[in-house]
Every structure is written in structure tokens, then in C-alpha cells.
């Protein structure tokens, strides 16, 4: 990386779209600049003071005013649409993306792969696979920024923020913290290593014998006593958790919410906030009792439960109809 780059590397599915939009913006801007600066230069020279020539009073022109108010609007709408499309897509990860939990703290990044391996300040991702990052912070706001992927998302304490990408070029890329977070903000950097699938698998397997995240979660689920209420039959004091992820759940107060990572998080840390219809708010809070890592494992575990996947969900679904376990594409949250 020795030379001075004038353009960032392009290594994700977003790069092309963002670059294209950017170039479009640059082109329009350059044209506007040429027009305006050209006009300024031309007019100021052409109509410079000449002896004996008097300026002519001109009132203005409604036609011109309307033209130059309305014409830029077309460009503005184009910019907006282009930007909005990319953005909306960025914020709606595909359902089958592999999910990596990211925990930020002053001043390091911790990543947890679903298969179990953990990394610090480095993230290995497979080439050509959708990867979804589920991120939270233990202290202040950070921001996960990979210039080569053209993506960035602030990482907040107290909740999950989500981002996804598909790497398209093998290589090693900068990971920056882009939200000022204190002394070592500029040291909170790392690298994203994109590897072809096979290589990535080797890396996965090469690591120490790591337990998949959901399995860690399962253990915690048992140890923390969740299983005593959330039993695999309908007899528990708590609702069945199998298959709830990605579907709306009816609440006691008549509202209904979509079960996403943030809802699961909240249900565990602040169970009283949204009480499931038909249940009493007896679940204790686990705020301050479990760590972010444990929480991530629990969330991963709950998400991994499908109505047919044994464990806590052995019996038939208790409540009403459940759709197909997973949709192949589309929105997850």
C-alpha cells in the first residue's frame, strides 16, 4: 500500500454503485462549476469598466429565476433517488447472510463468527458471501468503517446496529473507527481479510477448537436458568422462543413488534419493556448480569431455534400459525 492512492480500492458489492453515483455527482458538479465560473469570468471581463460605457439597469427575469430554480431540482431528485436506493438496500440485509457479532470498546474491535472463532481488530470474511454485522459497543459510540467496501455504520452502546456487505475482491483492507471515541480513536483500526471460500474454511478450521456461537448461547441459556421458564413445551412460564425471530409478535398492550436482534436484546435486558401478549411480566432482567459476548451468544442461540430444532422448541409451536422457518431473501428486520 505504499503509493498514494487517489481512489479507494473497490472490494464489495457496494463499491460500484457508490462510485457510480459519486462520479455522477462529480460530473454534474464539474459541469455546474465550469458553467458558473465560466460565466463569472466571461461576464466580469466582457463587462469590465470601460471609459464612457455606462452600466445598464436590469430588473431581473422571472423566466430565468424559475428556470434556474427548477432545473437543479431534477438533478437533486436524481441524487436523492440514487442515494436512497443504495442506502435502503444497505439497511436491509438478506436473511441468509452469515452473521458476525461485533463488539466495540475503547479502543478495539472484537468479532465473533457464528462458527465460533473470535478475532480482535481483524475480520476474516469469505469472498462472495453475504455477511451481516450485528454490532454494539461497550462504552462510547464508535463507527465501523471499511473504505474499500464503501460502508460505515456507527456502533452504539446499549443496542445493536446492523450492516451488511458482500466482499468481491480477495485482499486485506483497512478497518477504521470513524466516530471519535477518545484518546486512541485513530489507533482503533484493523483489517478486513477477504479470502476465497476454501481458504476461508481452512482459516475457520485452523483456529483453536472453537464452539459455535449458538452453542455457547445454548449453554448459557441453560446455565442462566432461561430454560426453566422457556421450556421446550408449552408448560413454561415464558413464551416459546423457537421460530420467533423475523416475525411479528403480539404484545400485551395491543401493539405488535417485529422480532429482530434489538428486540431480543431488549427482551433479555429489559423484559418489562415489551411484554408478550398472554404472559405475565415475571422474567427477571439480566442487565448487568451477562456480558455483551454472552448476550450475543444468547441472541444467536434464540435466533437459531426453529420450531423443529429440538432443544427449547421440542414440542409443537404453541401459538397460532408460524410461517415457513426462513425466507430466502428480502428483509429480515
Amino acid at each position: 500500500m505504499g503509493n498514494t492512492p487517489f481512489w479507494p480500492e473497490s472490494a464489495s458489492n457496494w463499491a460500484q454503485g457508490v462510485d457510480a453515483l459519486y462520479i455522477f455527482l462529480v460530473l454534474v458538479s464539474v459541469v455546474m462549476c465550469v458553467l458558473i465560473f465560466g460565466a463569472v469570468a466571461f461576464l466580469s471581463v466582457k463587462f469590465r469598466r470601460k471609459p464612457g460605457v455606462q452600466p445598464t439597469a436590469i430588473e431581473g427575469s422571472h423566466f430565468l429565476e424559475i428556470t434556474w430554480s427548477v432545473l437543479p431540482m431534477f438533478f437533486f431528485f436524481a441524487f436523492f433517488l440514487g442515494g436512497a436506493l443504495i442506502f435502503f438496500h444497505e439497511r436491509t440485509p438478506p436473511q441468509d447472510a452469515s452473521e458476525i457479532y461485533v463488539v466495540a470498546k475503547q479502543w478495539m474491535w472484537k468479532m465473533e463468527h457464528p462458527e465460533g472463532p473470535r478475532e480482535i481488530n481483524t475480520l476474516h470474511v469469505p469472498l462472495g458471501k453475504d455477511v451481516k454485522l450485528i454490532m454494539t459497543s461497550m462504552d462510547v459510540i464508535h463507527s465501523f468503517y471499511v473504505p474499500a467496501f464503501r460502508i460505515k455504520q456507527d456502533v452504539l452502546p446499549g443496542r445493536y446496529t446492523i450492516m451488511w456487505f458482500r466482499a468481491t475482491q480477495p485482499g486485506t483492507y483497512h478497518l477504521f473507527c470513524a466516530e471519535y471515541c477518545g484518546t486512541q480513536h485513530s489507533g482503533m483500526i484493523g483489517s478486513i481479510i477477504v479470502q476465497p471460500e476454501a481458504e476461508y474454511q481452512t482459516w475457520l478450521n485452523g483456529g483453536s477448537s472453537s464452539v459455535p456461537l449458538a452453542q455457547t448461547g445454548e449453554k448459557a441459556f441453560a446455565e442462566l436458568g432461561c430454560a426453566s421458564c422457556h421450556r421446550s413445551d408449552t408448560q413454561g412460564r415464558g413464551p416459546l422462543l423457537a421460530g420467533i425471530y423475523g416475525r411479528p409478535v403480539a404484545l400485551e398492550d395491543g401493539r405488535s413488534v417485529m422480532v429482530d436482534e434489538n428486540y431480543l436484546r431488549e427482551s433479555i435486558l429489559d423484559p418489562g419493556a415489551k411484554v408478550v401478549a398472554g404472559f405475565r411480566p415475571v422474567m427477571p432482567t439480566f442487565q448487568g448480569i451477562i456480558s455483551e459476548e454472552q448476550l450475543a451468544a444468547l441472541v444467536a442461540y434464540v435466533k437459531s431455534l426453529t420450531p423443529s430444532s429440538g432443544q427449547a422448541a421440542g414440542a409443537a409451536p404453541a401459538k397460532a400459525e408460524k410461517g415457513p422457518p426462513q425466507m430466502k431473501s428480502g428483509r429480515s428486520r
Partner: protein
């Protein structure tokens, strides 16, 4: 141009009407208060500038070698706070606005002269507090004070810095309030709204933003301080708070605040272009109303600073959409200024050079603002040097250029002396070149991915950073020049006369410097703004 007038010393004017420190510190004359502001704001500009130079020096090399990480963080925080709150927000309204608003509308003073003085004292108190913060170690939150960093982690100086900004806010509120009331109530007979100079329109719009927006930052800072001291939890996720609430409240003011900065400058530019093209501004009504439009629309777009902050996707879409509308009134201004020169009689005095500089740099800054408003692109460039470049283009390239243009333009009115023209032109040129060299590379740096607020960076970014640092040095020299020759001109400058530019505004119809009550005879206005066609051509080239 030295028409046969007495040198300023020999006539009674606001400067020599009274003598002694007390006559200055207790003055209620808006012109003297403007001078007080000029001294104190210039002081803070150089403090902020020295900060900037230190930042640029540190960034000369990729390693963090000149200063410690913490020191660097304090540098850019100090730079941002000083430049925004103590320099850029007051610079045009409190100096030129204070001096000119009553003169331009034919009033004897602002509506509330004592409140005007109070504004200055508040500014000074806030400034002193800020200086104290700086001397005793500084804050390291960034000028945006984001929670929970500022409330739970940063150095406790944030309390003092927050209070400084809070007090300064009231200075700003009172200035805005004073302007609005003055413009409504103190106009000379015949000074109808359609005859108001565009400078006044711009200040009116600015004042609206000051009055409506500043209180929100005031309460936000109060809550921030309370949070820091008593751990209220309103912004702290650990206690159930939402840090984004802070960001919303902060930007509710701080976005409109960028129009507090730019609108008065736009007013200056209108005056300059009219005078040096010797024409009424093209599309006067549109330029006038676009100021108000910018002020109002400015309140609808604040969350474009929060696209990646974890906001709702829908809110991001709404705010992105709304942001583009700001481009329309801004475009109206740029196009009308350009069109004004058509069939004019253009000359290139220093103020006009600054106006050209403003046109170019503001356009680039504004257009790159549109990049940032575009969601997909902002995701990539937010919190990188692209943003840094954007806002320096509008703030330094726009506002500072316009201020310097205005300062040169009205310098003869303020002091009764002319500045040395060739020096002025040279400084404007140096400034322009230095500016572009400093900040243009930062656009590239940003798109390549260098995050802002980094005191060390990967080595491949070095070349562009070196360019930028080199530019900053040139820019600094460009700013030192005026400081020197303007001071020089106070004594040795050519005596200016009442109306050295043969300009059209009411402020040129009184003597230079004006008497304490501005006009010897209460003015009655029977002419339109910018009636250059009724004025005679200046006979000789300056």
C-alpha cells in the same frame, strides 16, 4: 479618491467623540461595540488559527509524533469550538452587522443598545471561560460534544466548555433579537421592505435562526452539563437514555447555525457585487426572499449529520430528501450574483476579488454539501476528510472570504482610511491559492477513506496531507497580511472620504467615520436599493 474632506481626526465622529477606556467599555454606541467585537473576535480567530496550524503540523507525518494523542484531540476540539462559536458565528453579524444595520436602515442605533453591550460582555465572559479551559488543559470531545463520550469519559473540562458555549449562545440570541426588532421598528421614513439592502435581508434571516435555534442548543448544553454532574441519564444508554437524542438536539441548532454563518456573508456578497458591477442586484426580490427561505428550510434538515448514527431508515430518507431543497435558494443566489454582472461595469478592487473567491469556493462547498446529502455517498464519506473539506470550503472559503471582502469594503467607513489596494489584492490572491491547496486535497483524502479526527494515519495518505499542510502555511500568511496592513492603514492610510466607492447604500451618505448618532440629519429614504443607474460613474480608476 481623496475628495476634499478633513482627515478623520479633525471631525467629531464616533471614534473620537469620547475618550478613555471607560468610554469604550461602557459605550452603547453600536459602532463602538462593533469595534469591541472586532478586537475580541479577531483575537479568537488567531487562537483558532494557531490551533489549525498545530493540527496541520501534526498531520505532516503519518505517525503521531509532534503531539500526544490526547493533545491532538484537544487541538481539534479547541479549534472547532473556538472557530465555530467564538469566531464564525459572531464574525459577520456582530462586527459588520452591528456596525452597519442601523446605518443601512437610517437608524440612530440598534433597538436595545444596552442589550447590545450586554451581548458583547456575554461574549467576553464566555470567551474568557473558554480561554481558561484552553489554558488549563482543554477539552477533548470534538466540537460536537457527542454523548456518552462527553458525559461519561471525556475530561471534566467539558462542563466549563459547555457553559462557555451556553453563555456565548445568549450573546448570539440577544444579537439576533436586537436585529429583528431594529429592522422592524427603527427604519428611517421611506425605508420600505423592498428598499432594504440585501445585507439587511440576510441579517434578518440570520437573526431568525439565532432566535429560534440558539435556545435549543442552550438547553441541550444545560442538560449535557447536568448529565455530566448528576448523571441524569437523559443521554446515557447505560441509564436508559438515547445518545441520538443529544445528536438531534445538537444538530437542531448546529445545522441552522451553519446558515447563521453563511447568510450574513451572502448579504456582504450581494453588496459587493452590486457595487463593483455598478448595478442593482439581478432578481432582487428572489435574492432577498431566498435568504428567508434558507433560514426556514435550514430547520428541516438537521439529521443529515446522523445518517450513519443509527437513526431510523425512514428518518434518514426524509432528511436526505429535505436537505436537497436547501440547494434551490442557494442556487438562486449564485445565479443571480453571476447575472448581476451582465451589462454591468465591473472593476476588480480587493473586495470584489474576495467576492469572486467566495462565489467559486462557496459553490464548490455547496455542491459537495449535496454529495453529503446523498445517502449512499454520505455513508462512505461521512466522518472522513471529505466532510472536513466540505465545511472548510463553505466556512473558510465562503464566510471568511466574504468577511474579509466586507471588511475591506467598509474599512473606509469604519476607520475613515483606505487600506493599501495592491497589498489587499496580493493578500486575497495568496489566501485563495493557499486555501485551495489546503482543502482541495482533503476531498480526495476523504473519498480514499481517511477518517477525520485522526492524529496518526496509514502512510499512503501522507502525500495529500503534506500538500494540505503546505497550503495551510500559505493560507496563514494570507491572513497575516491584512492584519498588518489594515493596522498600518489606521495611521498611514489615505483619507477615505464619505463614499470612496461611490456606492449606493444609506451608510455611504453619512460621513466616514460616522458621527455618534450616525446621521447629522435624520435621513429620509426616497430611492430604491442599489440605484446605481442614478449615481454617476466614478471618474477615475482607483
Amino acid at each position: 479618491m481623496a475628495t476634499a474632506v478633513l482627515p478623520p481626526q479633525q471631525r467629531t465622529n464616533y471614534l473620537n467623540a469620547e475618550h478613555g477606556v471607560k468610554s469604550w467599555l461602557l459605550t452603547v454606541d453600536h459602532k463602538r461595540i462593533a469595534i469591541l467585537y472586532m478586537l475580541s473576535i479577531t483575537f479568537f480567530f488567531f487562537i483558532g488559527g494557531i490551533y489549525a496550524l498545530l493540527i496541520r503540523l501534526e498531520l505532516l507525518t503519518p505517525a503521531g509524533d509532534l503531539v500526544q494523542a490526547d493533545t491532538y484531540n484537544r487541538l481539534f476540539t479547541g479549534h472547532g469550538i473556538v472557530m465555530v462559536f467564538f469566531f464564525l458565528i459572531p464574525v459577520v453579524p456582530a462586527i459588520l452587522g452591528n456596525f452597519l444595520v442601523p446605518l443601512m436602515i437610517g437608524a440612530k442605533d440598534l433597538a436595545f443598545p444596552r442589550i447590545n453591550l450586554l451581548s458583547w460582555y456575554l461574549y467576553v465572559i464566555a470567551g474568557a471561560l473558554m480561554l481558561h479551559v484552553i489554558i488549563t488543559g482543554g477539552v477533548d470531545t470534538g466540537w460536537t460534544f457527542y454523548t456518552p463520550y462527553s458525559t461519561a469519559f471525556a475530561s471534566p473540562k467539558v462542563i466549563e466548555a459547555g457553559l462557555a458555549a451556553f453563555i456565548n449562545g445568549f450573546s448570539s440570541i440577544f444579537t439576533g433579537l436586537n436585529f429583528i426588532v431594529t429592522i422592524h421598528r427603527m427604519r428611517a421614513p421611506g425605508m420600505t421592505w423592498s428598499r432594504l439592502p440585501l445585507f439587511i435581508w440576510a441579517h434578518y434571516a440570520t437573526s431568525l435562526v439565532m432566535v429560534l435555534g440558539t435556545p435549543v442548543i442552550a438547553i441541550t448544553l444545560v442538560l449535557l452539563v447536568l448529565e455530566r454532574v448528576f448523571h441524569l441519564g437523559i443521554f446515557d444508554p447505560k441509564l436508559g437514555g438515547d445518545p441520538l437524542l443529544f445528536q438531534h438536539l445538537f444538530w437542531f441548532y448546529s445545522h441552522p447555525a451553519v446558515y447563521i454563518m453563511i447568510l450574513p456573508s451572502m448579504g456582504i456578497i450581494s453588496e459587493l457585487i452590486a457595487c463593483f458591477s455598478r448595478k442593482r442586484i439581478f432578481g432582487f426580490n428572489f435574492v432577498a426572499l431566498s435568504s428567508v427561505a434558507i433560514a426556514v428550510l435550514g430547520f428541516l434538515v438537521w439529521a443529515h449529520h446522523m445518517f450513519v448514527a443509527g437513526m431510523s431508515v425512514y428518518a434518514a430518507l426524509i432528511f436526505s430528501f429535505l436537505t436537497f431543497f436547501i440547494g434551490v435558494p442557494s442556487a438562486i443566489k449564485v445565479f443571480n450574483w453571476t447575472a448581476t454582472m451582465y451589462k454591468g461595469s465591473v472593476t476588480y478592487e480587493t473586495p470584489m476579488l474576495y467576492a469572486f473567491g467566495f462565489l467559486g469556493l462557496f459553490t464548490i462547498g455547496g455542491l459537495t454539501g449535496l454529495f453529503l446529502a446523498t445517502l449512499g455517498v454520505d455513508i462512505h464519506v461521512t466522518d472522513t476528510y471529505f466532510v472536513v473539506a466540505h465545511f472548510h470550503y463553505v466556512m473558510v472559503g465562503g464566510v471568511v472570504m466574504a468577511y474579509l471582502g466586507g471588511l475591506h469594503f467598509w474599512w473606509p467607513k469604519i476607520t475613515g482610511r483606505m487600506y493599501p489596494e495592491s497589498m489587499g489584492k496580493l493578500a486575497a490572491l495568496i489566501g485563495f491559492v493557499g486555501f485551495n491547496l489546503t482543502f482541495f486535497p482533503q476531498f480526495i483524502l476523504g473519498y480514499v477513506g481517511m477518517p477525520r479526527r485522526y492524529y496518526q494515519y496509514p502512510p499512503e495518505f501522507q502525500v495529500l496531507n503534506v500538500l494540505s499542510t503546505a497550503g495551510a502555511t500559505i493560507l496563514g500568511i494570507g491572513y497575516l497580511f491584512p492584519l498588518v496592513y489594515l493596522l498600518w492603514s489606521l495611521r498611514y492610510g489615505e483619507v477615505a472620504g464619505d463614499n470612496p466607492w461611490n456606492a449606493a447604500g444609506l451608510e455611504w451618505k453619512t460621513s466616514s467615520p460616522p458621527p455618534t448618532f450616525n446621521f447629522d440629519v435624520d435621513p429620509v429614504v426616497d430611492f430604491e436599493a442599489y440605484n446605481y443607474d442614478e449615481l454617476k460613474e466614478i471618474p477615475v480608476e482607483r
